[in-house]
Amino acid sequence: MTELSQTAQHGLSAHSHGAGVPLQIRSERVRSASVADFEIITQREEQWRYLPVDRLGDLVDDVLAEFSGDIALKAPDSVTTAWVGREHPSFGAAGLPEDRVSAAGWASAEAAYLVTIPSNAEQDCQVQLSVVSEDDTASALHVIVEAKTHSKSVVVLDHRGKAVLSENVEIIVGDEANLTLVSIQDWDETSVHVASHFCKLGRNSKLKHIVISLGGKTVRITPSVDYNGTGGDAELLGMYFADAGQHLEHRPYIDHSVANCKSRVTYKGALQGEKAHTVWVGDVLIRKEAEGTDTYELNRNLLLTEGARADSVPNLEIETGKIEGAGHASASGRFDDEQLFYLQARGISESEARRLVVYGFLNEIIQQIGVAEIEARLTESIEAELARSVN
C-alpha cells in the first residue's frame, strides 16, 4: 500500500502520546473486579483517550442490567455448557478487569456462561455461540470458554442484533490444548459493545484468537494474553471494516511473564466514509523473567476515502535482553496504484479492481478462521460493504 505513516520497527515504547496524557506503563495498570478501583472515564485517561465518552452511552454506569438476549449454542454433544456463579473455580481464572466498563460488567453479571471443551475434543470440534440481542438497555455478559488439556477446537462467538453491552470473555487454554477462538462483532448500526477478552495459556498450548469487527456504532475489544507455562503460543488476528460514523477500537495486550513463549499479533482494517474511525493500540510487555520470548505485532490500515481516520499505536516494553525476537510495524495508507494498474491492465474495471484489492487485503485474515461457513459469510459481508461504497 502507499504508506502515509510508518512507525519505525524498533524496540521501545513511547509512541504518539499527545500532550497532557500521562504515559502509563502497561505493567502498572490497575487490575480489579471492583468498579471503585478505577478512575471515572474521561479522554484524559490513556486507555480512553481515543474514545469520546458519550459514545459509551449508559456503559459508563457502575451497575448494569444482566444480559437479556439469546445465547444459542451449536456444538457437538461432548461440549458442555452451564451458568456458573462466582464461586466456580473457572470464574475469574483467566484474569481480572483492567478498565472501568469491564469492572462494571464483571460486578453486574452474577453468573457466567461456561463452555467446556473436553480433553478428547479433536480438530473438528466446532462450537458456535450466537449472542443475539434486541434490547439496548446497558447490560453485562460474562462468558467463559475453557479448553481442557490436549483438546483441539474452534469456538465462534457471534454477536448480532441491537445491544449496549459490557462483555467479559475468559478464555482458558489448558496445557497442550489448541484453541481457535473467533469473536465476530456484526451488530446493527446503533449498538455499543465494549469487551475484554482474558486469555490464559497453559504449557505448550496454542491459541489462535481472531477478532472480526464489522457492525456496531462503537465497538471496543481488548484481548489480553497471559501465559501460565512455557511454550505457549498466541496468535492474535483481527480484521475490521469501519463505515461512516463508526468507531472500531482494538487493544490487544500480550503480557510475556513466562520464559520461551511466542506471540504474533496481526490486525488489518479498512475504513471508508466520513468520520469512520479505527483505533489500534497494541501493547506487548516482556517481563524480566520472560527470557526466550519471540513476539511480533503488526497493524495495517487501508483508507478507502477521505474523511476516515486510523490511529495505530504499537507499544513494546522490554525488561530483559535475552529474547528470541521482538518487533512491531504499523502502517496506514491508501490504495496501491500499481496493484490497481495491474488488475485494470487485465480488463478489470477500476471499481472492481478496488474491491478485489481490499478484499484481498482483508481476506488474509479471514482465510485463517478455518470454518468454511463462517468464512463464506464474512467474505459476503465484506463484499456487501465494498459493493456499497468502493467505486
Binding site: 496504484d337 500499481e338 496493484q339 494498474f341 495491474y342 488488475l343 485494470q344 491492465a345 487485465r346 480488463g347 478489470i348 474495471s349 477500476e350 472492481e352 479492481a353 478485489l356 484489492v357 478484499y359 484481498g360 487485503f361 482483508l362 481476506n363 488474509e364 482465510q367
Partner: protein
C-alpha cells in the same frame, strides 16, 4: 486483421526536478500476426512505451496518437484498452496479497469476455495452459505473484496472455531472468498465442536468444526515446555484435 498504430508519440513523466520528456516522437505500426522486436539501451524508454500503450497513469502523453483499428486508444481507460484487445506482459509483475490466481484469472476473463466463463471448461483450459507452460497447478491457489520467483512471474504473465486472447501483446523483457528451459517454454506459449489468435507482438528485449524462438518480422532500435533504425531479423544480429555505440554517439 487488426492494426495498432503509434504516431509521433511524446510522453513525459513527473520527476522531482519537474516534467521530463522520455518518448520523443515514436512511430510504429503493428498488424495482426506480425512480430516486432524492440531493442535498445537501458533507460532508452522501452518500458515507458509499453506502459504508455497500456495507459499507466504515471505517463503523460503530450503529443501524438495511438490507434487500434482506427479507435483512439488514448481516450480509453486502462481496463478499456485491455478489453479492446491490448495486453501488456510486465517487466515487473505486481503482487496482489490475498487474491488467489484462480480468482484473479476468472475475474479478468469475465471482464474481458463480458460474461463469466463456463466453470468446467474454464478450469480445464486453465489447467491445460498451465501444463503447456510447465506451471504446477498449485499456483492457482497462491496469491497473485506473491512469493513467485522471477521466472514464475513471467510464466504467469504468459499464462494470462494465452487465456485472455488479446489482439496485440507488448512483452516487456519477458525473457529476462529466464533459464534456458524456461525461455523455451515461455516462447512456446507466445507462439501458441500467435498461432491461435493471429496475435500481433511487440517484443522488448535485450537479447537475441529469444528471437531464435520467437521470430521477428521487424527489428526496431530504440535510442533516447525514439526509433533510431528499423530492419529485419539481421539487424538484431548486428546489434548483438556491435552494441548501440554508433546510435548513442550519433
Amino acid at each position: 486483421m487488426s492494426i495498432l498504430q503509434i504516431k509521433n508519440l511524446h510522453v513525459s513523466v513527473d520527476t522531482e526536478q519537474g516534467k521530463k520528456e522520455i518518448l520523443r516522437g515514436v512511430d510504429l505500426t503493428i498488424r495482426s500476426g506480425e512480430t516486432h522486436a524492440i531493442m535498445g539501451p537501458n533507460g532508452s524508454g522501452k518500458s515507458t512505451l509499453a506502459y504508455s500503450i497500456a495507459g499507466h497513469p504515471k505517463y503523460e502523453v503530450t503529443e501524438g496518437e495511438i490507434l487500434l483499428d482506427g479507435e483512439n486508444v488514448l481516450e480509453m481507460s486502462v481496463d478499456e484498452r485491455a478489453r479492446a484487445g491490448v495486453f501488456l506482459a510486465m517487466q515487473y509483475p505486481v503482487e496482489i496479497p490475498g487474491v488467489s490466481v484462480s480468482n484473479f484469472l476468472r475475474t479478468a476473463k469475465t471482464a474481458i469476455a463480458g460474461e463469466a466463463p463456463a466453470l468446467r471448461t474454464w478450469i480445464k483450459e486453465v489447467r491445460e495452459t498451465m501444463d503447456g507452460l510447465r506451471m504446477d497447478p498449485a499456483f492457482t491457489e497462491r496469491n497473485v505473484n506473491e512469493g513467485f520467483s522471477g521466472g514464475e512471474k513471467k510464466r504467469h504473465e504468459i499464462l494470462q496472455l494465452e487465456l485472455l486472447k488479446p489482439k496485440f501483446a507488448v512483452l516487456d523483457e519477458t525473457d529476462s531472468g529466464l533459464d534456458v528451459d524456461a525461455l523455451k517454454t515461455v516462447s512456446e506459449g507466445v507462439n501458441r498465442a500467435k498461432a491461435a489468435n493471429d496475435l500481433g507482438v511487440l517484443l522488448i528485449t535485450h537479447y537475441t536468444r529469444i528471437l531464435k524462438y520467437i521470430k521477428p518480422d521487424f527489428v526496431h532500435v530504440f535510442v533516447a526515446g525514439q526509433v533510431a533504425e528499423e530492419g529485419g531479423p539481421e539487424l538484431a544480429e548486428r546489434l548483438e555484435a556491435e552494441g548501440y555505440d554508433r546510435y548513442v554517439r550519433a
